[in-house]
């Protein structure tokens, strides 16, 4: 028995030997899972329940948490800032997701056919995905500065268009932040779309051509329907990303986070401020529960859409 000295129970060697192979393997399996189970229980599940519990308390870091029922939720739903933030979060989602998907699909569709310098062009689109949002937030912030500093206003004024306030304007700031957020995600979406396009068997296209379908019809009847799983994945992935937007907003509006006048503040920034600037932990926990509910809804929607097809 060469395996004796390699067993996990060092002491009771005879006991280990008497076990049959199946039992030994079960013991191995639970040995492998022991630490991970502790991890998931202690660092994922327990905190989740704790967050629900804290959302029903008035915990403020100083005094022990007291149960206050649904008071945090009542306060939140009566708070006009919460609704403003809610609206902002959905604006990021509703504009960001379709726009980034359409752009990345068009680029992927054409880039997929390019042979000459394919790798180089792909790299240009992919590079922004590798950047740090916190750092690039500052670069974009600089872009948006007024003349003589900002690059964009510099270009605008050189062609005779009036200066734009961008981050200083209640109407433009949210869109100004959305641009770098879309920019940073495009590379990933393009790569995934290209992988999806390549997974479509070439015979489908050949058959369609024999049937005399034009390019437009092929796109509508073959490419887009067969790309559905990829598209659904990207819709959900980028929706979740936009719903959780934080890094860009925080870094592009540091002197008045979420400003001007809360016009750019997303839910996660509100959570951050409630918890770590005002230390209203219970109230912040209630806001995280709202975020959780929205994200859960999006994920379930994905499962539903994909289930239906199969």
């Amino acid at each position: 028995m060469a395996s004796v000295n390699a067993n996990p129970q060092a002491g009771p060697v005879r006991f280990w030997d008497r076990l049959n192979i199946g039992t030994k393997r079960v013991i191995w399996a639970w040995t492998f899972l022991a630490l991970p189970i502790l991890f998931y229980a202690g660092i994922r599940f327990y905190p989740t329940f704790q967050a629900f519990w804290l959302s029903l308390t008035n915990w403020d870091l100083l005094r022990p948490a007291q149960f206050i029922g649904l008071a945090n939720y009542q306060k939140m739903f009566a708070d006009p800032i919460f609704w403003k933030v809610f609206q902002n979060t959905f604006l990021y989602l509703i504009i960001g997701t379709p726009l980034s998907l359409v752009i990345s699909f068009v680029i992927a569709f054409y880039l997929d056919r390019v042979r000459f310098m394919h790798g180089f062009i792909r790299a240009l689109y992919f590079l922004p995905f590798l950047t740090t949002a916190a750092a690039m937030g500052w670069v974009w912030r600089w872009f948006y500065q007024p003349v003589p500093i900002g690059v964009i206003n510099g270009i605008l004024s050189s062609v005779g268009i009036p200066q734009q306030p961008f981050l200083r304007s209640v109407d433009q700031a949210l869109f100004s932040i959305l641009v770098p957020a879309i920019w940073a995600g495009l590379g990933f979406q393009i790569i995934i779309f290209m992988a999806g396009l390549r997974a479509i068997p070439g015979t489908f296209y050949e058959a369609a051509r024999i049937d005399g379908l034009g390019e437009g019809a092929i796109l509508r009847k073959i490419t887009i329907p067969l790309l559905k799983p990829t598209t659904v994945f990207l819709v959900v992935f980028s929706s979740i990303g936009f719903l959780r937007i934080f890094d860009q907003v925080y870094n592009m509006t540091t002197n008045d986070p979420g400003g001007p006048l809360n016009s750019t503040k997303p839910l996660v920034l509100m959570i951050y401020q409630t918890a770590f600037s005002s230390y209203q932990m219970g109230y912040a926990a209630a806001q995280t529960v709202v975020l959780f509910t929205i994200l859960l809804f999006v994920s379930l929607l994905q499962l539903y859409v994909l289930r239906e097809k199969k």
Partner: protein, 285 residues
């Protein structure tokens, strides 16, 4: 048309009209350069003096590395750089080890409760980090983990995404190999580490790339858990440095460039693997 080209792209190319393809190619190239314009401006400005920042030329008149010396001599950037590298590497190693081990166990062992464990781990994908940070913060302050490497790292030591990815790949490993190793008297841990792991190297590299990048750029949790500047990660450091530098844009751009250069260098060297890894993780994950 008679030449049978099995790949989609070639078949498509054949039908395209030449001028259309050239226009598409040119537009794609221009679009690509627009994509990296922010990066080009960042590097160009980091090579300018404060007086030159206002001329918006992309190529600096008299490029200088002074800003880099100024920023790096400060010492804090070196510390943050080290923190980020250490943290991202450690978390990546932990994920490669544990996510693979759990994925392998769930894919290749038969035992009661297996499906339950799998569903439980998978369900944590639905829990957003933002919901957990308040309890994590509480936990860290009670256990003295605030302002420590461990405090920054502990939430990400294992991920459901990685476990799921690795499980998918281990399912493709033929049982015959594992059985043969068992007959040879290898123990289960050795079988996993020496036999199964080398067979899923592409998945491991995809997981490693994603985990490293995710932790290198992570901002939200490190911002919360660190208050002392020595423990900042690079993104948090860049953010606080930039807020301090206020209008010294050439220094801000230098800081941002220092945070961007490492990932760009790694990408240039490993481009093919990274793109493939992203595709793998995206399609299977």
């Amino acid at each position: 048309m008679t030449a049978t080209t099995s790949t989609t792209e070639l078949a498509a190319n054949r039908r395209d009209i030449r001028p259309g393809r050239i226009i598409a190619w040119t537009l794609l190239l221009i679009g690509g350069f627009i994509m990296i314009t922010p990066l080009l401006y960042m590097f160009s400005t980091s090579l300018k003096t404060s007086a030159q920042v206002y001329d918006l030329k992309l190529i600096p008149v008299a490029p200088t590395l002074d800003n880099y010396f100024k920023v790096l001599n400060d010492g804090r950037f070196m510390q943050w750089f080290f923190n980020s590298t250490f943290i991202a590497l450690t978390v990546t190693a932990s994920n490669v080890f544990f996510d693979s081990l759990v994925g392998y166990t769930l894919a290749k062992f038969q035992f009661r409760g297996r499906y339950f464990i799998f569903l439980a781990i998978l369900s944590t994908l639905m829990i957003p980090t933002e919901m957990l940070v308040i309890p994590w913060y509480l936990m860290s302050s009670q256990l003295g983990w605030l302002n420590s490497y461990w405090g920054i790292m502990f939430p990400g030591m294992m991920t459901a995404f990685g476990t799921f990815l690795m499980k998918q790949f281990f399912e493709g490993v033929p049982n015959d190999f594992l059985e043969a190793a068992r007959v040879d008297g290898l123990n289960e841990f050795t079988i996993w580490w020496k036999i199964a792991m080398p067979m899923v190297v592409p998945a491991i590299s995809a997981l490693a790339i994603f985990t490293f990048l995710g932790n290198w750029t992570a901002f939200f949790w490190p911002l919360i858990v660190t208050t002392s500047k020595e423990l900042y990660t690079l993104p948090v450091g860049i953010s606080s440095f930039s807020a301090e530098a206020s209008i010294q844009w050439e220094l801000i751009m230098t800081g941002a460039a220092i945070g961007t250069i490492p990932t760009l260098l790694v990408f240039l060297v490993l481009q093919r693997y990274i793109v493939r890894g992203v595709m793998l993780a995206g399609l299977k994950g």
